[in-house]
């Protein structure tokens, strides 16, 4: 068992003036792939470094495999780490780089050789073992860094933006490969990234961080479809979720949202009252655009048309608010035209305009 349990961790920088982590608690299950996602400066790397032991939290405890490691140095924690810069030693060959951890433990030569070859085989760098890092490409160096971690058969594998230094095409390939590999070895993994697509595509669960706190921990589809707050909805997805503000009004005994004069019929959260303001969130792909007026469609003025190959991305203005809409490539539209938007009722989410917290179906606000 090697679950990671983080309990109420606080971390300060600049002599206590800046709180980088504010009461962070998180449990990563045994063999789980947990992604820490957030914008730069949100504390995700600091949290990873606290798990690694490269930073010590001022308050809170960290357990790995049920053992309190809060006060242990990194080398006693049975962890391995892949650094953003790879930190592959330039003065050692690929073989000795991968063997580094085993050498420090003074393992017998035969064992080192066998395990290094094994790890190198997994990362498909077995032909470069005698080379020096300077003779490798960025992608190959990244593989060396991962192999150096895997060879330790650690309880926990920590990865700090391991793909961010690769070019776009290589990153796509490396992402799928890394995912396959980690499914194979089934090591408990904490993976830090600011790239939400990486998070969505790789993680078993995603912990979204904002300003030193975890704001939502959920499966990728859940985080995408049911963002816990305005921040999460606005951070995840390309384009991010659209938000429209409206007022609840009573219509034929039921409630509807008045959006610039146009009532929207969708399941509103329970316990709403007429006259209350609500924020409606909906993703670009859940809006159907049409050139024809229809009774429940919202009129909008087209601002920008961006053909993206697989679809058109429209920026349109609803009332005062610009939102993004996704349509088929053959949708014939030009800027300044008026189009009519039908919002997929099941995909509409509601948020409290004051706190930014999402209302769940039963009406109580939820925030993890």
């Amino acid at each position: 068992m090697s679950e990671i349990r983080i309990q109420g961790v606080w971390k300060y920088f600049s002599k206590g003036k800046v709180a980088a982590l504010k009461d962070v608690s998180l449990t990563v299950q045994d063999r789980e792939f947990m992604v820490l996602l957030g914008p730069s400066g949100c504390g995700k790397t600091t949290l990873l470094r606290c798990i690694a032991g490269l930073e010590y939290p001022e308050r809170g405890r960290i357990f790995i495999g049920g053992r309190d490691v809060t006060d242990e140095p990194p080398r006693k924690r049975k962890i391995a780490m892949v650094f953003q810069s790879y930190a592959v030693f330039p003065h050692l060959t690929v073989f000795e780089n991968i063997a580094f951890g085993l050498r420090m433990q003074k393992r017998p030569n035969a064992e080192v050789k066998q395990r290094v070859n094994n790890a190198a085989g997994m990362m498909r760098i077995e032909n470069f073992l005698e080379r020096y890092p300077a003779q490798l490409s960025g992608g190959q160096r990244q593989r060396v860094a991962v192999a150096r971690g895997l060879v330790m058969e650690p309880q926990v594998l920590l990865m700090d933006e391991p793909l961010s230094n690769l070019d776009a095409l290589l990153r796509l390939q490396a992402r799928a490969e890394l995912k396959r590999l980690l499914q194979q070895v089934q090591t408990t993994t904490v993976y830090v990234t600011h790239d939400q697509i990486e998070a969505l595509s790789m993680g078993d669960r995603i912990a979204v961080m904002e300003n030193g706190a975890i704001v939502q921990v959920d499966a990728p589809t859940q985080v995408y479809d049911y963002p816990g707050s305005l921040f999460v909805g606005g951070f995840i997805g390309t384009p991010p979720m659209n938000f429209l503000r409206g007022t609840v009004k009573s219509m034929n005994g039921a409630f509807a949202l008045n959006l610039g004069g146009q009532p929207i019929r969708a399941a509103l959260p329970a316990n709403v009252q007429a006259g209350q303001d609500l924020l409606m969130g909906i993703r670009a792909e859940n809006i159907e655009a049409s050139a024809q007026r229809s009774p429940d469609a919202v009129p909008a003025r087209v601002l920008v048309v961006e053909p993206l190959g697989s679809h058109l991305l429209l920026t349109v203005q609803v009332g005062e608010t610009p939102i993004k809409v996704q349509t088929r490539m053959d949708f014939n539209i030009a800027p300044d035209q008026t189009i009519y938007l039908r919002l997929e009722p099941k995909q509409v989410r509601w948020f409290d305009p004051e706190t930014g917290v999402r209302y769940d179906a039963s009406g109580s606000t939820e925030l993890k």
């Binding site: 490269l54 990194p74 080398r75 391995a80 030693f89 003065h91 951890g101 050498r103 020096y132």
Partner: protein, 308 residues
């Protein structure tokens, strides 16, 4: 004055100067680096290359212009020659490892970012600003018969009778005094180079080593030292070459009691024997060149490691 003009026929050579503004600018640009190098080249030629050639000639030619090996023979047969050679090498063999051990330890202390470690750097580099002779005189004040060391030993009662640390009869303590003064004087420059090298190591490497189980000593031995090898190499070559020329400190502390190669060269010159001085100078040059060559070979970074 002729102005550039086209003849109309592109293939025919222009009748007047082809040096239009454009080609002139281009020529200036390619000549500029050489023009900028010229002053220092001249300086090197006049003050280094030419005296070197002169010294070479002085050492193998009599004033009458005959080629000879007599100066070389005279140097080798001189009573002080083996002593000078031995003393020079002994000072180097003892002082340089000490300088490096101290410099690395001091560099690591500064890099440890302890409170006030920036002050250490200023404090430790003070000897850099002190001239060789002054450094020798400082330590003379310590080690002379009526020096600080003896008075401290006497007043504390450890050693009631003054000891002649610098007497030629006490070769061991004389050598020790010279080595201490040399180490005090020249460790700073090694430390400055080491600190510069240490600052170039990104934290990531040491953190990676820490995560992968390296203890403090293992990090020093397997990561820090290999990564500052280029700096150590520079410092080693610099220090060794300068140490072969060790002179003022020895003269100040030992006078004639401890001949070294450079002091012998000076003595020959003072005896109005420029040929004898030139042979010594040439010997120092040869030894320095050979040592540098050996260092470069032993410490070189493989081409593969540098990514070629």
């Amino acid at each position: 004055m002729a102005t550039p003009q086209y003849t109309g026929d592109a293939l025919a050579p222009p009748l007047t100067s082809p040096l239009t503004n454009k080609t002139f600018a281009r020529r200036m640009e390619s000549a500029l680096p050489y023009l900028l190098l010229l002053p220092s080249m001249l300086f090197m030629l006049i003050f280094f290359a030419w005296p070197m050639v002169q010294a070479l000639i002085l050492s193998v030619r009599t004033p009458d212009g005959a080629w000879t090996m007599q100066y070389l023979e005279r140097m080798v047969r001189d009573v002080n020659f083996t002593d000078a050679l031995r003393n020079t090498f002994l000072i180097i063999l003892i002082a340089i490892p000490l300088q490096f051990a101290f410099a690395i330890a001091m560099g690591l202390l500064i890099q440890a970012k302890l409170k006030g470690s920036a002050l250490f750097l200023y404090f430790w580099t003070i000897p850099l600003a002190v001239s060789d002779l002054a450094a020798g005189l400082v330590w003379l004040a310590v080690f002379s018969d009526r020096g600080f060391l003896n008075s401290v030993l006497r007043t504390t009662g450890i050693m009631p009778i003054a000891f002649s640390w610098l007497s030629y009869e006490n070769y061991g303590t004389l050598l020790m005094a010279v080595v201490i003064a040399e180490v005090w004087r020249a460790t700073a420059i090694v430390m400055v180079i080491v600190v510069a090298g240490l600052q170039l190591i990104p934290d990531d490497y040491l953190e990676a080593a820490e995560v992968f189980g390296a203890t403090r000593w293992q990090r020093l031995w397997h990561v820090t030292l290999p990564m500052i090898r280029p700096s150590l190499q520079v410092a080693l070559i610099l220090r060794t070459i300068l140490a072969f020329q060790v002179f003022a400190v020895v003269i100040a502390l030992a006078g004639r009691a401890m001949p070294v190669l450079a002091s012998e060269a000076y003595n020959r010159y003072a005896e109005l024997n420029p040929n004898g001085a030139a042979v010594y100078a040439l010997l120092i040059l040869t030894i320095s060149l050979v040592t540098t060559g050996v260092y470069l070979r032993l410490l070189r970074t493989s081409e593969a490691e540098m990514g070629r």
